[in-house]
Subunit: 212 residues, 2 copies
């Protein structure tokens, strides 16, 4: 049991729920949704699509799909089936540990738009707990071994610690936001969501540099 992460399956289903696509296009979108911008290989993608089709969650080419210019090559456009949609909703509604593990969290977060508010909050809180536990572990081993470590190992540790701390603060902002939205909804039917301020942390950070 515990088939483990299988981060590809929900990622594909989630993207196809937004709109039908063929494999090549899917791949580019997947890189944005999967963790840390890794380039997924076709050797993983196409077999995964076949497996999903075999399970009856997606079908290829059933819908013609308007072709703006001359149809290039074969191009199998996939879309969700009824069962596929049902399965995806079930996956997106689950808020167990697997949802906030490293490998899965990014994908789950990317599809928060298709996830209900309660589940979103539980996943964010689960993730936060997970990271603070890790923080404790790191801090302990840090304090236990700092004397014996050389400067570079120490710096690596310090930097890792800082990254996790920052991640926790990011989650805090998101959690505040989710709670704010829920409260606003309950109280007075209000407000879209997210990134009203810029969730602290970044200040003048992102963008800028070049750009005119």
């Amino acid at each position: 049991m515990r088939g483990r992460s299988d981060v590809l399956e929900p990622a594909i289903l989630g993207l196809l729920a937004e709109s039908p696509m063929h494999g090549y296009e899917l791949r580019k979108r997947l890189n944005l949704v999967l963790g840390s911008f890794r380039a997924l290989s076709y050797g993983s993608l196409y077999p995964a699509l076949k497996a999903l089709a075999a399970k009856g969650w997606i079908v290829g080419n059933d819908a013609p799909v308007e072709r703006p210019v001359a149809t290039k090559r074969a191009r199998i456009v996939y879309q969700l089936t009824g069962e596929g949609k049902e399965h995806l909703q079930q996956v997106l509604a689950s808020a167990g540990p697997s949802a906030w593990e490293d490998e899965n969290f990014d994908v789950r977060f990317a599809f928060f738009g298709q996830t209900d508010a309660e589940t979103r909050l539980r996943i964010l809180e689960g993730r936060r707990t997970r990271l603070t536990e890790r923080l404790e572990t790191i801090r302990q081993s840090f304090n236990r071994t700092r004397e014996r470590m050389d400067e570079y190992t120490l710096e690596l540790q310090r930097h890792g610690l800082e990254q996790v701390e920052r991640e926790v603060r990011w989650l805090d902002g998101l959690i505040d936001n989710e709670r704010g939205v829920r409260r606003a909804r309950t109280e007075s039917e209000g407000r879209p969501a997210l990134a009203t301020d810029d969730a602290e942390g970044s200040t003048e950070a992102h963008t800028e540099k070049e750009r005119g």
Copy 2:
């Protein structure tokens, strides 16, 4: 060709170069040196140790090693052979792309104490180039697709971008430091290294010095 990362082998050799150890102890240390604090399983470690022994780079139990209390169980203490040391030095002296890829960089950095200054600088610069390339890719796809993306996917992207930007700034600090040390050495026989400015970090201290 291209056997790929094999991040475990250099990590084990690097740690054993610092001091002989048995597997169980090695595992705990490995978690600090390998990327992102993942817990390495014994199912990977022990076969890896056997493979290294088969290659003649390490040997088990040749040195008695003082036992403070009653010797628990078997406990095979491994240490580097002459060939192992030679091989490790060769690995640590290489500054090719594999040294600054995601999977390998942390390990290489952790053993910078056993790496010469020139190689350190080349690896840091290679890593920096790699990350700024990635930054470009992310920014482009970000700008191309931001209209069509929902708020959560957008936030995930923004957060990822920010993380990479921060990583680049961290590298800038390290590179400055390396250059500073080299200049100091050449000029006047000097100075330990690293973390002259902020260093400690932990709770929200750190950051924003705005260098030129």
